[in-house]
C-alpha cells in the first residue's frame, strides 16, 4: 500500500525532473495589450524613423509545449499610428498611405507556429494591409519571468507589396521600401 503510494507520487516527480518543459505546461489565452507594443521603423533618405501603433486587439491561444495548436489573431487600428514625426503621422492616414477610411485595420492571422527551442518559435501567418495579403514569418522569442511571459520578435516587409505609399510616394529613394516591425506581446491567462 505504502509502496504504491510512494510510486504514485514519485513517478510524476521523476517525469518533471526529466522533462522540465512539462513543468510549465501552461496555456496562454490572451494578450495584455496595455503592456504590449507594436513598433516599426523605416528609413527616409538615410534617416531612421521609429513609429508605433497605440490601438490594437489580439486573440491568442498559445501553449509553449503544443505550438502546433497555437493561434494568434491581431487587428491593428491604422488611425492609431504614430509614424515617427508629427508631419508624417498627419499624412499616413491618407489614401496613398494606409487609406484608413477604407481600410481601418491591418490584420495578422497565424497559419502555423513551430518551435525551434523552448524559447524560439517561428510564427507564420498572413498579414493584410489595405486589402493586400501576403505571408510573413516572424521569429519570436519567449521570455518568462515568474508568472509573466512575453513574445518578442521582428520581421520586415516591403511597403510597396501592400500599396503603402502610392503615387508620388512609391519612389523608394525617399521613403525606403523595407519596413521593420518590432512586436512585444505580453501574454496573459497563463495557468
Amino acid at each position: 500500500m505504502s509502496i504504491t503510494c510512494t510510486r504514485a507520487v514519485a513517478l510524476p516527480l521523476l517525469a518533471l525532473a526529466l522533462f522540465p518543459a512539462l513543468a510549465n505546461a501552461i496555456e496562454y489565452t490572451g494578450v495584455d495589450t496595455a503592456r504590449s507594443k507594436i513598433g516599426f521603423s523605416y528609413t527616409e533618405m538615410g534617416v531612421k524613423l521609429n513609429g508605433s501603433f497605440a490601438k490594437y486587439t489580439a486573440q491568442l491561444k498559445f501553449d509553449p509545449t503544443k505550438p502546433q495548436e497555437a493561434h494568434v489573431l491581431v487587428d491593428v487600428a491604422m488611425a492609431s499610428i504614430d509614424a515617427g514625426s508629427a508631419e508624417a503621422t498627419s499624412e499616413v492616414a491618407d489614401k496613398d498611405w494606409f487609406d484608413a477610411v477604407h481600410s481601418p485595420a491591418a490584420h495578422f492571422e497565424s497559419t502555423s507556429v513551430t518551435s525551434q527551442t523552448a524559447e524560439h518559435y517561428q510564427l507564420a501567418g498572413n498579414l493584410t494591409i489595405k486589402g493586400h495579403t501576403h505571408a510573413v514569418a516572424i521569429p519570436v522569442t519567449l521570455a518568462t519571468n515568474g508568472g509573466r511571459a512575453a513574445l518578442d520578435g521582428t520581421f520586415t516587409f516591403n511597403r510597396t507589396d501592400y500599396g503603402v505609399g502610392e503615387g508620388e510616394w512609391a519612389d523608394t529613394s525617399i521613403v525606403a521600401n523595407p519596413i521593420q516591425v518590432q512586436i512585444h506581446i505580453v501574454l496573459s491567462g497563463g495557468g
Partner: protein, 174 residues
Amino acid sequence: MGARYTRTAIGLHWIIFVALAGMMTLGFYVHGLHFSPTRIRLVNYHKWAGVTLFLLVLLRLLWRLTHEPPPLHGTTPKLTRWAASAVHWLLYFLMFAIPLSGWLMSSAKGYQTVWFGIVPLPDLVQRNAGLGSQLLQLHATLNIILIVLVAGHAGAAFKHHFIDHDDVLTRILH
C-alpha cells in the same frame, strides 16, 4: 592702409555669404511646401548643406580667433567702433546658432540629422513636437535677425566706400 585680411578670411567671408543666402532661400521655400517627397528631398539637402556650412563657420571662427583682422581707421568714433565690433560678433553668433537651432529642431521633430544620408549626428534633444515648433520659430527668427544685421553690415560698408571714400569695403574684396 597696409593691414589686410588674409586670403582665407576673404574666401570664407564670401563663400559663407553666398551659401547662407542660398540656404535661407531654400529654407523659406521648403517651409512653404506641402509634405511631399520633393519636400523631404529638399529638407534633407538643406540639412546636409547646413551641417557643411556649420563646419565652415567653425573653421571661420577658428581663423578669426587666430588671425587679427585689419583695424578700423584711427578716426572712427568710439561708438561706431563699438557698434561695428558688436555686429561682427553677433554675426558670428548667428552663423553658429542658426545651424545649431536647425539641428536641434530636426531632432525635436523626430528626424535625426544624417549628413549626406551617411554620417549620423547625435540627437541632442529628444523627440518633442512642442519643442520642435518652438525651435522652428527660433530658427526662423534668428534668420530674420541675420538678414537685418547683414543689411546693416553691408550698408555700413557701402557708407565707407561711397561717402567716406576709404578702403573698408575694398579690403574684403581683394
